[in-house]
Amino acid sequence: MIAVATSETVSASEGFNAPGPSSFELPPVFHIGDLGVTKPMLLIVLSAVIIIAVAVVMSRKAEVVPGRLQFAGEYVYGFVRNSVARDNIGSEHFMKFVPYLFALFLFVLVNNYFGVIPFIEFPTMSRIGYVIALAAITWFVYNIVGIIKHGPWGYLKLQTVPGGMKGPILLLLVPLEFFSNILVRPVTLTLRLFGNMFAGHLLLILFSTGGAYLILDAGNPFYGAVGVVSFLLGIAVSFLEMLVMFLQAYVFTLLTAMYIGGALVDEH
């Protein structure tokens, strides 16, 4: 990404082209018929292959005393199962949802970390279409398990009528709760992951292309010194991004578990 963006900047040579949303619209790598296959499409397939391969290798020779790889796999699995699924869904029903949550966590995590892995350097989730699909799956899962448990009417009542509320205040509360619990949740779930990945990667592009421009093209040694500072800041921001990438994968899984737990809770 850095190399590509730098050559664009150099060839422009009419001042600095600030990166924007168009920096994320990559040309197709190759075509299958009329369908152009772009980099994020390849990356999302690659992430699935990586996750399946690592999971198979980690669990193939499972022993009572775990080896190093098995320990790492069990650590991640235990983290999702105990501190995400069990604490938020409740010890009665949580095991049914652990496979989904575990797959979701790894999928988002690996796709996020593509943003800082050298030579890949593109977080798949900075294209909003992929995030919309994930958020839609979560939306369907928590609504459908709620409807199965409480029935359509009971589920609607659970999600829209806050406990212990009576009288005319419900006229105000019910539409508001419906709006917030059914309509806004998938939107914020999508925008949070997309926005973080998009903004974080944009920041990295800005620091690296800006630094390259100041050092190579600005033609002023003082600007060159500022360019070095820009590169150093870019490195610092990369570390911050690694933290954010993990946090967003965790938060996406955590919110999914919370929504499922909220849909399964017994009536007040």
């Binding site: 938020n88 914020t188 925008l191 949070r192 926005g195 903004a199 965790y250």
Partner: protein
């Protein structure tokens, strides 16, 4: 100078969530300092509050790019 007024608007819109996230983590640190054994319980609440406050800033950045100048 060129640029979009949206970006200034986004900068202003990010002030609110910034203060909010600061308050949330200040409360979390206070809670852990007073009662270190409650850390695990407080952590998930703090992160939940953080993501809800952060959602406002993220909606802001989405609108800053989406809305016409």
């Amino acid at each position: 100078m060129e640029g979009s007024l949206n970006m200034i608007g986004y900068g202003l819109a990010a002030v609110g969530p910034g203060i909010g996230i600061g308050l949330i983590f200040a409360a979390y640190i206070n809670g852990v300092a007073r009662q270190p054994e409650a850390q695990a319980r407080l952590q998930s609440i703090a992160i939940l509050g953080f993501v809800l406050a952060e959602a406002l800033a993220i909606i802001g950045i989405a609108l800053a790019f989406v809305l016409p100048i």
